[in-house]
Homo-oligomer: 512 residues x 2
Amino acid sequence: MEALSINDVTPVAIDDATAPGLAQHKTAIQGLFKRRRVRVKELLAAGLSTVGHTVTVKGWAKTLREAGAGAFAFLELNDGSCFTGLQIVVAKDVPGFEALINSGGTGASFCVVGTVVESPAKGQLIEVKATEVTLYGDVADPSTYALSKKRHTLEHLREHAHLRPRSNIHSAAMRVRNAMAQATHSFFNERGFLYIHTPLITASDCEGAGEMFAVTTLFNHVKDGNVPKTADNKAIDFSKDFFGKPSYLTVSGQLNVETHCCALSDCYTFGPTFRAENSNTARHLAEFWMIEPEIAFADLSDDIDLAEDYLKYCAQYALDNCAEDLAFFDKNVEKGLLERLQSTIASPFVRLSYTDAIELINKPENLKKGKFEKKPKWGDDLGSEHERFITEQIYKKPVVLYDYPKEIKAFYMRLNDDGKTVAAADVLVPKIGEIIGGSQREERLDVLEARIKEATGHDPAEYGWYCDLRRYGTVPHAGFGCGFERLVRFVTGIENIRDVIPFPRWPSNASF
Amino acid sequence: MEALSINDVTPVAIDDATAPGLAQHKTAIQGLFKRRRVRVKELLAAGLSTVGHTVTVKGWAKTLREAGAGAFAFLELNDGSCFTGLQIVVAKDVPGFEALINSGGTGASFCVVGTVVESPAKGQLIEVKATEVTLYGDVADPSTYALSKKRHTLEHLREHAHLRPRSNIHSAAMRVRNAMAQATHSFFNERGFLYIHTPLITASDCEGAGEMFAVTTLFNHVKDGNVPKTADNKAIDFSKDFFGKPSYLTVSGQLNVETHCCALSDCYTFGPTFRAENSNTARHLAEFWMIEPEIAFADLSDDIDLAEDYLKYCAQYALDNCAEDLAFFDKNVEKGLLERLQSTIASPFVRLSYTDAIELINKPENLKKGKFEKKPKWGDDLGSEHERFITEQIYKKPVVLYDYPKEIKAFYMRLNDDGKTVAAADVLVPKIGEIIGGSQREERLDVLEARIKEATGHDPAEYGWYCDLRRYGTVPHAGFGCGFERLVRFVTGIENIRDVIPFPRWPSNASF
């Protein structure tokens, strides 16, 4: 295997991981042994027990400064494994000192071998006294480096999305985003749900084509700016397209995942969804991720229980696994974030019918306090201003609204006995507003077919496969959709949805 | 909350889950208590310890037959939680017996309350003696039910993809698919990797538009079959499109995930990718899922180690968590599947250079044995026939080929010192052929720019953001891509890739 080796500078990550005091960190540290480095996260976690040991660390300079009239340098090295960097002291006589000093500093990459020592500085238990520094890559011209040491605006970071994972705020957001994805899979897996990958491209007639992106290969067959046309020359000839008919990017995996729920019981999807909405707000993306559980033998009450359990699990998971990153957000992004998350977990969510919510908002004292642009009456969709007022001003905790007028909800939601409302529920949380929308699904074939006609104007036959689930062994079932980026905003306090996804897409923006 | 309740027929899943003998299954069973049922999987796992207890189970009839001259009926109930159904004996005097008998049988759905008894039948420890049966949904006309009791072809199941999760083979495939997804997240999460969602829609110039799907909203602005055109009337006016320029569905998340790897160290993507390839084979899909880890401070050897660890972890995970489903596949789909998976884990993968592989194939005895359509010489891409010959005939175990000629590999792969080969590696496994393709990435800016010119003919400036990763603090890094459906085929033995994904997409097929 000689041909495969690069000139790696060190043979081991730490001299003796089985030494007393290190034993408890053995697994975490050994997991990387093959890779000949210790991650900063595990090293800092092992703390004083590592003092005296020789370690190898690799990462990027967060800061670099000379001190003692050029006799040594302080290098803060970050490898992305955690928020805090590792302080490294490099004396002038250490091999690699010159390269370090001429590396351009912030952003340059290094391998450092050194001895762990107790740190005399405040706020850190240990630091590394370097015995050898190897430069991987410099920043030849720091004046052109978009992620230089100074503070940058969120707009600037977005424009350099390929480098922004090197910023404090984006790296912390990405670690929390990862934690929320892992929490999602753990939560559902532990409860026996199956992860089902619903399709992204669909030619199904069930989804309205209104705000959908078309998927096509017809642009490969353009002549004089024309895509292939039908014989009468009046319309696009989709029979020549890849799928033989108009095809779109999905707006939800729900209808598809119901097919598996109605055979395998509890399922969930977690994948990208798309909305070709011409909206340039801080709350919308053209491409975003969504979690959609679907539970069999369940009613709306079960569905709300699941949504509440899920959100609490995610908040607890973030507190348990992302303490350092959340502390940063609490201090710099949203004062009171930690308290908000703790209070999310502490008590049951409020459950309130839509009808009661309308009444509540229209109380004179609330109308006065809320200063709403619009005064909602029964039958109206609630605006974001009303939703946030209820959860932030009135209850100061998550609120579940349920039983909405059928006119403002989708055809597949179960009609209640009153004939006027459907078994739908939205979960509202402080800071975000609506974070989850769900419903019990209409499982009665005749009612579903009537609702399809009434709500969509279509022939139920166009929804044949969806109706089949009610035709053959129908069961009561329910589910919800949770916007993943909203969840990440919820646990980080980050305002703009473009800052919680690696490469945001919105009108006129699909770079990288 | 009264308004939220449906008329659910039973109050509890099992009468006393804390009874002696049930204690060890408490967690599994209690997890569903809110939902007032016991899953078949947990009930069968608890086995004889449940005898004498009253339980509630819910699911679909796999089979239904009357016996004892109409004095009772045998119902095999499946809820998708495991392969095996639960045997239920319903005596004529049990409430719901008539509805059961007239339900249409296979496919109808029920709630059953009953007492667990020791089973006199072979192959099962317990069965349930029903005390009450409630029909949720019947199969009114069994002659129209596509998933009737008889054996169906895989083609038939594909045509009824919305019902095929009710078949033995597809439900087993979906449980294994779920297990492989959970295994993937566990594997990387345990090793400190961050899950990064790379974008699906991209207008980046880095990806060749050859076999990509275009994403557009221009079809919403069609006049007389024409999409908007440029002023000279000769080309499509993409400035009117949603993203303001031609945009596509991604063929790989690699280039994007490298940005986060070069800041956060070890990352991975796991998401859908697309290929507008006009191929109608059992090995290709237009939409499939891919796992792409990217590791920092790593060379090709580290990358191969990771790939080998990952595949072994997945095989072990399937053996540990899907024993029942794998036994079915071993018996009905691929004889010897279990042995193949065990031998995958048992010994190190063979590692062989491309150059040695070419020499090996060209040995007279191998040419004779292989009866190849094509005799490969150095510089040729290996065909599937050669890859499978090496892994299935010569070594009979997984084989990693490395150091390929640069002409047949991508521009971003690291140029070896010989100037002729690149640090690329493909993992070949019996039954599938290539399952993983990876490489060390070119981290030297000057070499990368030269390779972009040479291999793509483009100006390196078009790859500006990708080159920036080498311009500012470059580090050696590597990664690979694993086709998720190939992985599922690998652990199930299923031949056709269309049978391991819920809703397969291929030319002219995007239904559901």
